[in-house]
């Protein structure tokens, strides 16, 4: 932690402004400090949104973009929040560029909501984290993004909706869809309503 990172250094601003200022001025070690503090969370986010292979390249792009845009950080939120938004947008741009369009947010939700029936496919016991990570990668990008942002990262539906450019209602329905799909994947059976 930089010793000069005094919360009172810039009156009225977020404590992170000091580090941001150091990064802007290219002060020794400041940007590395920023990377050390935030890279693990952002790498986790990237891995889950776009997959491990692409996540390494994306993490580089995220931090390079952060370095270039540091002047835009005004201290209205923490640097972590600012970087999180930047990272999410980079990941979503990547997904869009791969034609995994966010239009998929609205795909086949009606089908998958038809879940009435027996309890076949119930998950037995505690969900293994590795199994969940693998199952996540099998979700369509749209509902995966909602699930990761809401259930993994703890964003509110309002924030998810804003980040993804969808309505709150879409965020809620996609979250439900993602959970139902994951339940099916983790229990080894297809979701009700997907069976043909």
């Amino acid at each position: 932690m930089p010793s000069s990172n005094s919360p009172n250094r810039i009156p009225g601003g977020h404590p992170d402004l000091a580090l941001a200022e150091q990064c802007r001025k290219n002060e020794p070690g400041a940007f590395e400090e920023l990377y050390r503090r935030h890279s693990s969370r952002l790498f986790g986010l990237s891995c889950r949104l776009v997959g491990r292979t692409e996540a390494e390249d994306l993490l580089q792009e995220i931090f390079l973009a952060a370095h270039r845009k540091m002047g835009l950080y005004k201290g209205e939120s923490s640097l972590g929040t600012w970087l999180f938004r930047l990272a999410t947008n980079q990941c979503l741009d990547y997904l869009r560029s791969k034609r995994a369009r966010l239009a998929m947010l609205t795909d086949s939700i009606d089908q998958e909501s038809r879940t009435a029936g027996v309890g076949a496919g119930a998950i037995l016991g505690v969900v293994d984290r590795m199994d969940l990570e693998r199952a996540l990668q099998l979700l369509p990008p749209g509902c995966r993004a909602v699930f990761v942002l809401h259930d993994v990262e703890g964003c509110e539906h309002r924030e998810v909706a804003e980040l993804l450019g969808v309505s709150d209602g879409t965020s809620k329905s996609q979250l439900h869809k993602a959970r139902v799909r994951l339940r099916a994947l983790l229990s080894g059976s297809p979701p009700q309503g997907q069976q043909r």
Partner: protein, 241 residues
């Protein structure tokens, strides 16, 4: 009375605490009498809780090397070392690690021993007698390069023993590391006093030694027909690199 379909559509809002009033009461009433929907609710809640427990993931070291390298190219004055004095200790440490890796790897290599001989390993303590940082750097660099040359020779001489898929992974790692080494060297040529570039170079060299060492260990186990040993060596490779 709600149907199962209607109930299940409201399970996510229920477990997220977003359902209240008559809606919540109707869902709870249904759940009280329907085992299938109760299990469904339990499952979605398990998925939700498991997701909340997923933590950060540490990125591989080379990502920072690339970020630092790119930033250096875009902003040549950026990323200067925070504490230049700390390099002396770090250099001595690199020197010791490099020497130890060479000795351990060569010693453990049972095949092709006639073509390889243990290089002179420097006592890390002797680095204390090196007067200038530049001399320490050169010495450390020489050790790494010697270690890498020896290990590359060993790896090439027995590369046929490796599973092609594993060989591909190892080669990809070496290629990435070589790129990092090349980039750091270029940065150092442009600015010999660039501390982060020097650190990046030593880190990349250290990684290369580790990967080559793991390669040799893996070949060793494959040649001996020791599947368990090979698996362990491969697993160790994953941890080290």
């Amino acid at each position: 009375m709600m149907t199962c379909e209607e109930t299940r559509l409201r399970i996510s809002p229920l477990i997220d605490g977003e359902l209240s009033g008559p809606d919540a009461a109707a869902v709870l009433a249904h759940l009280a009498g329907c085992d299938a929907c109760s299990w469904f609710r339990q499952d979605l809640d398990r998925v939700r809780r498991a997701a909340a427990s997923l933590g950060p993931i540490s990125p591989p070291d080379h990502v920072w090397l690339h970020v630092a390298g790119q930033t250096r190219m875009e902003y040549p004055d950026a990323l200067k070392p925070r504490r230049p004095a700390a390099h002396r200790g770090a250099i001595a440490q690199w020197l010791g690690i490099a020497a130890a890796l060479v000795v351990v790897t060569i010693g453990a290599y049972v095949v092709g021993s006639t073509t390889s001989s243990a290089p002179q390993s420097s006592n890390p303590a002797s680095s204390a007698s090196v007067e200038t940082v530049a001399e320490e750097l050169n010495l450390a660099m020489q050790h790494y390069e010697r270690a890498i040359t020896e290990l590359e020779t060993l790896a090439q001489s027995g590369s046929s023993a490796l599973d092609p898929a594993m060989a591909k992974i190892l080669n990809q790692n070496i290629k990435t590391i070589n790129a990092a080494i090349s980039e750091s060297r270029t940065a150092l040529v442009q600015n010999p006093g660039n501390g982060p570039a020097r650190d990046s170079l030593f880190e990349a060299l250290r990684r290369k030694v580790v990967v080559l060492q793991a390669t040799v260990n893996l070949m060793n186990e494959m040649r001996k027909g020791n599947q368990v040993g090979a698996i362990e060596a491969a697993a160790a490779f994953g941890k080290k690199s």
